[in-house]
Amino acid sequence: MSAARRRLLIVEDGHEYEEFVRLFLGERFEVRVAHAAAEATRLAREFQPDALLLDLRFERTPADALEGDADDLAQRRFGGDRARALRHLQDQQGTIVLAQLRAQQCHAPALFVHDFPARRLANLQQLYGAVHAIPAFDAKAMAQVLGA
């Protein structure tokens, strides 16, 4: 039974995704959890996940632990306002972590629980290959997308 379980790497700033998956999909997945990009890339190497489940907003992650160049972003997009750039990095951290994982050759299908506009999801798929999104926590849909 356990041999059939798929390996799932969850990346989030809290524990909600992990709790949900363990409670409702625990029999189908062997789970590892990372709370920051560096930890995620390390686990991706060691654990070789079959699928990724990513939070989008990392509001509880301190600014200095966020992945992404806040100064560059502030200059390019926010008129030099670093606070806005940091806020943006927090709000979009899941996609930035995914970029890191793909750069480390982790190409497992990725799932976000977020209702991305269609064009933005298409952009993510163009950038990162297999990327899926479901609008809300739904165990059945999650299992289906993650191939369990």
């Binding site: 409670l23 509880r60 301190p62 997009r77 926010f78 806020r87 930035i96 933005r120 952009n123």
Partner: protein
């Protein structure tokens, strides 16, 4: 022409208080509320928050103040969450970050105070209850808070004191009372009466204007669209999708009689709070306060049917779901399903609202309009150009009101045309649009106005308005819509480009 400034009643009443406070001083120009608000914050005055959040929406500092309040609020909420989870260092860090930005909503004081009570820190709890009562002595829960304070500190001065006087502005220097003739007192009385009548009229007018629904605010104040889009996005993602959505999963299992105690415990934590999160109903109210603060006080949940219905639905879900396992009756399940359906409808209405926010297509029609209007400002031949090209790719939208975008582009183009007019040939100007795909999957629309003038131009010049009001307006308008402006080397054949960038607008 710039419309006359609208001023809220608190501003007028504050101005009135200042007039009365200075006795026989001559009438002053209306008091700018922003320095008063900043000073109150610096003084740690518990009413600083009210002064910040009631800044008129068209005050030059209003948008920045609201942005800072919203930004600080996320830190304060996180601080409370960490405090509840007994992560004191994290809580301190978050609250400190909030205080770097803007004052705390006094509504949080009792919440934090109760957390302190739970941990036996009665002195700090009493201090916060007292602070709350100083900030909001007539709040609907003020009596209850007084009782809580009385239990902790029966001798607290706030329980017997009269409310604080109005926050001081620039304190008048101490002086001797002059010997004022009777005529001056009469004149003062008449003036005060007029001021009172005027303030009353403003108050009535303000009361008529306030308390509008979010949909009406969207129609009437397009400058708030970016803030509304952000707030709605947060509410939908964090609360409706994550917390309510997860709770619904358990409801489905409970309905099938398949839930485990662990799953039910999970549900309770999602609904009733815990693990550092506020209870669902309280979290929803916190979002509503964030809306009201960030939108300048005009949005009022009591005037918004969809928000009221959502709040009612959340109450039903919070009340009924935790006991569903033991009291699983068809009627309760029906009520719960109806509540979830109401929240779905609420979510759909928010999505439709955001889909309808302002957006302007950046296409050749827009750029041609800009070129035509700028060229019409000058007599033919006054500024000889060798070329003025427009290059646009695929049409794409930005969340900027069309009038403002045209204003921004016209000012930059006008500056470019005048600069090349003073420069040797070839005199060329080009408008081009480039869409950049970000690593987040978002797109940024860059509109570049390039020219062949080698006259120096820097961002500091634009922000300092060295070129007059026009480019200063550009900077202000770009900031207002969350965009950016930069000066870059021009493409081949051009010296430099002024580039304005805005996030691409999507349907939600």
């Amino acid at each position: 022409m710039r419309p006359p400034r609208r001023v809220g009643p608190s501003t007028w009443l504050l101005a009135l208080a200042l007039q009365v406070g200075v006795g026989c001083e001559p009438a002053r120009t209306p008091v700018d509320p922003w320095p008063v608000a900043q000073e109150a914050f610096a003084r740690n005055d518990p009413r600083a928050f009210e002064l910040w959040s009631t800044l008129p929406s068209d005050h030059p500092a209003g948008a920045a103040a609201r942005r800072r309040l919203a930004q600080a609020d996320t830190h304060y909420q996180e601080g409370i969450r960490r405090l509840a989870a007994e992560d004191d260092d994290g809580a301190y860090r978050e609250i400190r970050r909030g205080l770097d930005d803007a004052p705390m909503d006094p509504g949080y004081y009792p919440i934090i105070a109760r957390l302190y009570v739970g941990r036996g820190n009665d002195a700090e709890a009493a201090r916060l209850f007292e602070r709350y009562l100083r900030a909001r002595p007539r709040a609907s829960d003020a009596d209850a808070v007084r009782e809580e304070l009385r239990m902790l500190s029966p001798g607290a001065s706030i329980l017997t004191d009269s409310p604080l006087p109005p926050p001081p502005a620039a304190e008048p220097a101490a002086r001797e009372t002059p010997d004022v003739p009777l005529g001056a007192w009469v004149a003062l009385g008449v003036l005060s009466g007029l001021l009172l009548a005027f303030a009353g009229a403003r108050l009535v007018s303000w009361l008529r204007r306030r308390g509008v629904s979010l949909a009406r605010l969207v129609r009437e104040q397009p400058e708030l669209h970016p803030a509304i889009a952000y707030l709605v996005g947060s509410l939908r993602h964090e609360l409706l999708k994550h917390r309510v959505g997860a709770a619904r999963e358990v409801l489905n299992l409970l309905g099938d009689g398949e839930s485990s105690p662990a799953q039910r415990a999970f549900l309770e934590s999602r609904l009733l709070g815990g693990s550092g999160s506020l209870p669902l109903a309280q979290a929803f109210d916190a979002y509503l306060r964030a809306f009201e603060r960030a939108l300048g006080g005009r949005f009022d949940v009591r005037s918004d049917h969809s928000f009221r219905a959502a709040r009612d639905a959340i109450r039903v879900i919070v009340d009924l779901t935790p006991t569903l396992a033991t009291r699983h009756t068809p009627r309760r399940v029906r009520r719960l399903r109806a509540a979830h359906a109401a929240l779905d409808a609420f979510d759909t209405s928010l999505k439709e609202l955001v889909d309808g926010l302002i957006r302007t297509d950046v296409d050749s029609a827009l750029l041609q309009q800009v070129v035509t209007e700028v060229r019409q400002e000058y007599a033919p031949g006054a500024v000889e150009l060798d070329s003025l090209d427009v290059e646009v790719g695929e049409p794409i939208a930005v969340e900027v009101f069309r009038v403002d975008l045209v204003l921004v582009l016209k000012n930059i183009l006008r500056n470019a045309v005048l600069a090349v007019g003073r420069a040797p040939a070839p005199r060329r100007v080009r408008l081009g649009v480039h869409v950049a795909l970000e690593v987040t999957g978002e797109e940024t629309v860059h509109i570049a106005i390039s020219d062949t003038s080698d006259a120096p131009l820097t961002l500091a010049m634009i922000r300092d308005r060295e070129f007059g009001r026009g480019l200063g307006l550009v900077s202000a308008a770009v900031d207002r819509y969350g965009g950016a402006i930069s000066i870059e080397p021009g493409p081949a054949g051009y010296v430099k480009s002024v580039v304005v960038s805005f996030p691409c607008a999507y349907n939600a």
